[in-house]
């Protein structure tokens, strides 16, 4: 239905084809782009970046979350800062990153990471804090302590909260990645968008937008939803 409306309005509209391409033309570009490797390459580049940035963000987030949960002093100082930092859209860091690292890959990686880190920290902290006292007492009576306690009780008990943190963190870093690539270049889907714009290839721009939407949806609906559902099934939905 939408496809038909799109194709028809595009044909009837007074805008020239390169500004408002029809659906068929877009699909053609999309398929060609994937076959020729131009789009595929950009996808791989972007995904590589986000995986790296996202992983770093998760690790940093979990570690910071641990310290905020564990030490009152850290909570009173860093805890507040993190909440403030969380409210800064990550692209805002970009000018700073360019000054620090130059207009390169590393700057993009930086904003991708920083976009997800604070959210991850906040979620990890609240996950750790909400581990029921009962589980902690049980583990301690069986002699668990230190790293074992963290690994077998605190972490698994916060899994539901951590997953919802991952989900939001992913959305933030995905947005940051596109913005960063659009402005910073260095390959990837964002840069392909920019290239399409400067060459006046609207069909390419729209193709890339479709790809971006598809990847975003797949990750959210397939990866995170499935993780969440698995945990709910295993724990029983009402266990929290």
């Amino acid at each position: 239905m939408i496809a038909v409306i799109w194709e028809v309005t595009s044909r009837l509209s007074s805008l020239p084809d390169f500004m408002f391409p029809g659906l068929l033309q877009v699909l053609d570009t999309l398929v060609n782009g994937i076959i020729s490797g131009q789009i595929t390459e950009a996808i791989l580049k972007s995904i590589g970046r986000i995986l790296l940035g996202f992983t770093i963000a998760i690790v940093i987030g979990l570690i910071l979350g641990y310290f905020i949960w564990r030490y009152k002093l850290v909570e009173d100082t860093l805890g507040f800062v993190v909440t403030a930092l969380q409210s800064i859209p990550s692209i805002v860091w970009f000018p700073l990153a360019i000054i620090w690292f130059g207009l390169n890959d590393f700057s993009i990686l930086f904003i991708v990471t920083i976009g997800a880190t604070w959210t991850m920290t906040v979620n990890a902290t609240s996950g750790f804090k909400n581990v029921p006292q009962l589980y902690q007492r049980v583990a301690k009576t069986y002699g668990s302590s230190g790293f074992h306690f963290l690994r077998t009780v605190i972490l698994p008990a916060s899994v539901p909260q951590i997953i919802s943190g991952l989900r939001i963190a992913w959305a933030f870093s995905w947005r940051a990645l596109m913005a960063g690539e659009l402005l910073g270049g260095g390959g990837g889907l964002g840069q392909l968008l920019e290239m399409g714009r400067s060459l006046g290839q609207m069909d390419l721009v729209i193709s890339v937008m479709i790809i971006i939407a598809i990847i975003g949806t797949i990750v959210d609906n397939v990866v995170f939803s499935r993780l969440e559902r698995n945990v709910q099934l295993k724990w029983g939905v009402s266990s929290r």
């Binding site: 049980v138 009576t141 002699g143 899994v159 724990w235 029983g236």
Partner: protein, 280 residues
Amino acid sequence: MYLTINGIEKSFVNEKKERVKVLDNINIEAEKGSFVSIVGPSGCGKSTLLYLIAGLDRPDAGDIRVAGQKVKKPGPERVVVFQEAGLFPWLTVLENVTYGLKLKKMSKAEAEAKALEVLKMVHLSRYVDSYPHQLSGGMKQRVAIARALVMEPDILLMDEPFSALDEQTRMVLHKELIEIWRKTKVTIFFITHNIREAVQLSEKVVVFATRPGKIKDIISVPSMKDGVMPDSVTLHTEQKVLSILQEEIEKVLKEEMGDDYSFKTGPVHRNDSGDMGSHI
């Protein structure tokens, strides 16, 4: 004496930042292999005392010794069964039961073999691979008991373990617990607010007074180790405990409902005497 609780004092700071004394000069002794119950109104510090024995918390004064050794921290020879089973929802029944054994550095195969044996004892062999949410309340509590027993503890600390269960399940578990106690000769320290439960299960009932929690009286339960106790004997002991608690019940009710409340104990009716304990 095997377990000695000697001059325990414990206070907490409440929401208004006042120090509130919860336990005042608690002295209890228990022989190895005995079954001791503590009854008392809720909020009188029963759980607090149990956590002190478990080593989860430290007393302000006094000490607790097991076989002469001072309790300083939690240890696998003193395990706790809590009111809510407290099974880890991310582990299967078998993984829950082997949790403590793996901490003891036992090999996986050996731990699982032991766990299966104990799960059989609590009649849960068919549920080893289930997750806790798939079990009923009574089954969860059985797993919690199995998880504790598999450690072969010297002392089993039980904090109102059956109070969230329905009457039938509780009766079955009473029987199973007594069987386990006889078989394993474990020392059991059992907390309840149900007078009948205390009298039916244990050899010695420690009656707590409230605010601050202190020992009001210690009653020995006449026992016939091999047979079923005649109802009249149990009933008599129940009434004795109730009459000791009467003053405490009145104190709590007055605090909750105002000074005009007065509680009179009439003759205990057999039908609701099981409940009587839970209303104190």
